[in-house]
Amino acid sequence: MRASNAVKALTLAVSVAWIAGCSSPSTLSEDDSSMGGSATGSSSNTYGTGDASGVSGMGTDGNLDVANLKTVFYFDFDDSTVRADSVADLEAHAQYLASHPSASIRLEGHADERGTREYNMALGERRAKAIERFLAVNGVSGAQAETISYGEEKPVVLGSGDGSWSQNRRVELKYVSR
């Protein structure tokens, strides 16, 4: 008798605790950068907490206008950490994908022209995978995202200079099916 009572009490306590934990705000830790090898550039951003700015076009009750979201995400030189200015839109994409399991995307990773081609292929892949991991942590399943790297082969701007290069260091998110 007493044993079953104790068990009941314990179960109650645990369930209360769990409910309490669930409703506290989410704090995603920055383990993206640690998994991406040791590519620490001069300005590697560990992104801050709960910076829910730029909530462009995000409705209040899940009616997401995905077409208006950013689909190109930029990176710093020789770096594959997800930048702070990419987070909000990525989260929105993640939400959409999580709530539409039949939707799938293709993440195309790119690098700027500096350095050697095959190494840049690997860099492009690293960036695409960084984005993929971010989305996964935000609820996107692996089957929904495909990654491919084009290295420096498909620049979006053809110039040589910091302006052009920063435009080319990117991952493009393309919806294969909505």
Binding site: A6, A9, V16, V55, T71
Partner: protein
């Protein structure tokens, strides 16, 4: 109603409630402190990707059009330039052809002449060389012969004197004989013979005369005794005179001898001095030669270094040796790699460097004997320093 049985459950219930409250308290307080900020006014611009793309495309089209126009112009000017070039080339070619023919003829002749000259020069050089050698030979054999002659003469003279010395003849006769030794040593023998014969004859004659005298002497013993006494006196006086004379002569000869010795001693001293001087001069000459050789060495090195093009295949550690043989004028007789570096380009560059010098002109300023002995054959070791690899 058993109160006791209810106490435990109540306590447990209370505990549970306290735990619950404790668990919920932080959550409540956290909720109060939740920094949920109000959405900031967004200054985002909606980017229409499609319009951006068309803009970029427009710009690129303009750029392309410009490029095309520029290319067309370039094409036109290039074509015009090419036509001109072709015309000019034709004219130039024709003119060149005519000139070339002329030049070819002249050059052919020139070359023949040069070749002839070279051959003659070489012949002459060879002849000169032969002559030089012959002369040297002649000189040497001549000297040898002279020396031999002298040696023989001296020997003869000494033998001659020795013969005369032991003779029992007068000093005058000796003197005459000695004079002969100097001039006609071969006749001394017969002269000695003649003198000795003469002496023998005279001895004979004396004997006869003495016997005659003895007979007459007994007759004139008494007178002879007186005369003999006087004659003895005379004889004694004569003997004394002769002795005095002999003594004088002896003394004179001794004096002469001493003179001769002194002169000989002086001569020896003078010779020794000369030898010492010679030695000094020889040393000085050797030093000078060493210096000349050293100067010439650095001259050779600098002349070759200036012209040595180190090839692209040269590597640190490579080494080649060339044997260079020169004419006394400094011109190159031959160049030959006697130790290869193992790299063909390197060996060739070494040979070429020497050939490019052509003539080591300073060689002609050097004493030919010294040059011939020390500087005619040169081993040049090419050992590059400071190469990149």
């Amino acid at each position: 109603m058993r109160i006791r049985s209810y106490i435990l459950p109540v306590v447990l219930a209370l505990l549970v409630h306290i735990c619950v409250v404790l668990l919920l308290v932080p959550h409540w307080f956290q909720q109060k402190q939740d920094p949920r900020q109000t959405p900031r006014h967004i200054q985002a611009t909606m980017i229409d990707l499609k319009s951006l793309a068309t803009e970029v495309a427009n710009q690129q089209q303009i750029a392309e059009a410009k490029e095309e126009a520029a290319q067309k112009q370039a094409e036109q000017t290039r074509q015009a330039a090419e036509l001109e070039k072709q015309e000019q080339a034709e004219q130039a070619r024709q003119a060149q052809e005519a000139e070339r023919k002329q030049q070819a003829e002249a050059q052919a002749q020139k070359k023949k002449l040069e070749e002839q000259k070279q051959q003659e020069a070489q012949k002459k050089l060879e002849e000169l060389k032969k002559l030089e050698e012959k002369n040297l030979e002649k000189q040497r054999s001549e000297e040898k012969r002279l020396k031999e002659v002298e040696d023989a003469r001296i020997k003869e003279f000494d033998e001659c004197i020795a013969k005369i010395k032991g003779l029992d003849i007068t000093a005058e006769q000796k003197a005459t004989l000695e004079a002969l030794c100097n001039s006609k040593p071969k006749e001394v023998e017969s002269a000695i013979k003649a003198i000795l014969e003469k002496k023998a004859d005279e001895a004979e004659k004396k004997k006869l005369a003495e016997e005659a005298k003895k007979k007459a002497a007994e007759k004139q013993k008494q007178e002879a005794a007186q005369k003999a006494a006087e004659a003895e006196k005379l004889k004694a006086a004569e003997a004394a005179k002769k002795k005095a004379e002999a003594d004088k002569q002896r003394k004179a000869e001794e004096a002469k001898r001493k003179e001769a010795e002194r002169v000989a001693a002086e001569k020896a001293a003078a010779e020794a001095k000369q030898k010492a001087e010679l030695e000094k001069r020889r040393q000085a000459a050797l030093e000078k030669n060493k210096q000349t050789v050293a100067d010439f060495s650095s001259y050779v090195v600098s002349e070759i270094s200036r012209r040595w093009i180190r090839p692209a295949t040269a590597r640190n550690g490579m080494q080649a040796t060339a044997l260079v043989v020169l004419f006394p004028s400094g011109e190159i007789d031959s160049v030959e790699i006697i130790q290869s570096s193992g790299d063909l380009g390197f060996d060739r560059s070494a040979e070429n460097a020497v050939y490019k010098v052509g003539r080591f002109s300073r060689a002609s300023e050097i004493d030919p004997v010294l040059f011939d002995r020390n500087l005619r054959r040169i081993k040049v070791i090419f050992r590059p320093e400071g190469l990149r690899y």
